[in-house]
Symmetry: D2
Subunit: 209 residues, 4 copies
């Protein structure tokens, strides 16, 4: 995205700020071993983002925010084959017990935190995540995970659709391609979400309170 | 996206071809006056894509494919305000009877074609589109419309999630920013959809039959 | 349902009380002319329920609760024909401008109240209702409308699925068949919702506050 | 439901026949040990329905129909607690590895058949079932399982909403309360589904072909 793009968007009224309102929840999307390992689906700034997300997770727990995780997981017998796996057949490695599909140790879920299994990009599609957030009256969903151009983007769009304010922590989301990471952050900033660094996020009133 | 990105994706197994299977349907996303007019939400290659889509629509009708349209429309009293309109308040111009919200004349729906009104990027969210396609046993959804980086991308991801094969006709989708158009076509090609020019599409077996 | 049924349900742990938690919203389902008119889809206790709902609507507005309505509406050209209309072809009378599809005068929506159009029993299916409620942090959805055995039951099940506590006001929901009204209230009381009379509801802490 | 109810429904145009169209799929809802055992959530005609469903499953496999199952399953740590479990806290027995949550031996899934885990009544809510059916171009969903007044009813309504023709095999669905079984079959027959005995179903053209 070049400066000319940004001008067009500004001229047409895009990219307004979203007010961040509590209660907040944290959503950790697909920070599974396979998505930080460059030999599987990782690379680019993904591992760096996972490392940074440790601080974000600690902050969320400290504040007592609801914490939800998604894992991309497919059936051992491939009975749940779909268009997404047809496009990326290497995804079948992500079976329930495969090392590649486990959440990275440093971000392991704690008792009482929700883990949804998904077969599509969005953490909301075919899961009970929106219902779980609504039941707790959550208004803002803070998003970390991988990959920015895939499951983050799809989850952010759906968070907005389901009535939540998406807050993307830009240094806690990563992608195998930094160019696509940037292009997708631009789209999200212009149309769907608040996009902040972890340091900026910590200074928000809704977070400090 | 540079060649380095493409290498990473290829190495990790992304971007496989999708077999295009009939029955097909055509989905025309948000080709409303406002999205082809550079003074509203248009610009870039949007008007050109709408012009090209005329031939695609004619082809679909000739073959008797189900044809569905989406229109982005908001309530006059803004009772349906949402995070998307908070991000882009200029969207409120798209009321039911505003000229900006009408489908462009050259692509006007015919009797029996479905028109869904939507308040979010995806033509599937908060609409009965997936249900309507499933009832007709549709397997492939051919997609035209605007904008590539917004409602096309979101509708393509959702078409895939709902079980349909998305076929994006790349010269029949447009965007105010050609850079974002390209970046989003790359993501769709790598992860979610078949991406073909109109000429390539016409040569597919599932289309010629 | 006889006393033997109730025993089975109690023995197996069904029918526990739900705590009613604010914020509350009011959902008025299909109180359209056609659903209170015995010559169309009304009859039984439907008209009586609509009359009673006037007080409930006044209470909701007094408390400043979000108020949403659903209308069952089909396209003039029947392009949105579905399995539900195939089962009940007389539904096609409910076009956008037909007198039968208008909300009854005594319950007419006010500016800022949401009206969703639907083509299926649940007010949530193919609409943005869940999103609209979530955005406002609503926790309990008070339900009135018609018919108990159809669109009320479906909307109540979906309210629960989407993360909201359904509170059915039993004298503000009606049905052409009182036997089916009773059978469905039993199911909802045992499995999905709090069921209270309007007078009982007014005494709840979450309402009085 | 008495004859007077049936008259009202007939007079208002309800209860038309649905044409059963192939391709068909079989959906087996919650035939888990706990739902046939009268000491857990079974009783009434549930066990009898499960016994009868064996023949239906054999027929489906013989014809090569896609077969899907739902299991009601909750997290060991109750992180997925919801309004449904608040209404029926005894549901928490249905953890992934509990004997009560396993599908009955006589109907055990085979490799390649889909099993979705659900936390709400409908086999479609929060699952990828509709997507899986759509991808295979399925038009009619044959439904067996438990309980008629709960997860069958909710799944049948949702099958219809998602664009599929529901065909309830009335002697292959069961309920702890026969009165509620009957009341719900009446609603489904009048508004949402074809309802046939197994013997009647076997004679349908779409099945015999």
């Amino acid at each position: 995205m070049n400066s000319r793009s940004e001008d067009v968007y500004a001229d047409q009224g895009f990219g307004q700020d979203l007010e961040i309102v509590s209660p907040l929840a944290l959503l950790v999307v697909d920070f599974q071993n396979g998505f930080v390992d460059p030999a599987v689906f990782g690379g680019g700034n993904a591992a760096e983002a996972a490392a940074k997300a440790k601080g974000l997770l600690a902050l969320a727990r400290e504040h007592g925010w609801p914490v939800a995780y998604s894992r991309c997981v497919y059936a051992d017998d491939r009975s749940d084959a779909n268009v997404f796996t047809e496009k990326i057949p290497s995804s079948y490695v992500l079976t329930e017990n495969a090392p590649e599909s486990q959440i990275v140790d440093s971000l392991a879920p704690m008792e009482g935190e929700l883990v949804v299994r998904k077969q599509f990009p969005s953490a909301f599609f075919g899961t009970t995540l929106a219902s779980w957030l609504a039941r707790q009256g959550v208004k803002t969903v803070v998003v970390a995970g991988a990959t920015t151009s895939g499951c983050i983007r799809a989850s952010v769009v759906d968070a907005m659709c389901h009535g939540f304010i998406p807050l993307v922590v830009e240094d806690c989301v990563g992608d195998r391609s930094v160019a696509q990471h940037d292009a997708n952050l631009f789209d999200m900033k212009m149309k769907y979400a608040a996009v902040k660094t972890f340091d900026e996020m910590k200074e928000l009133d809704a977070v400090k309170q």
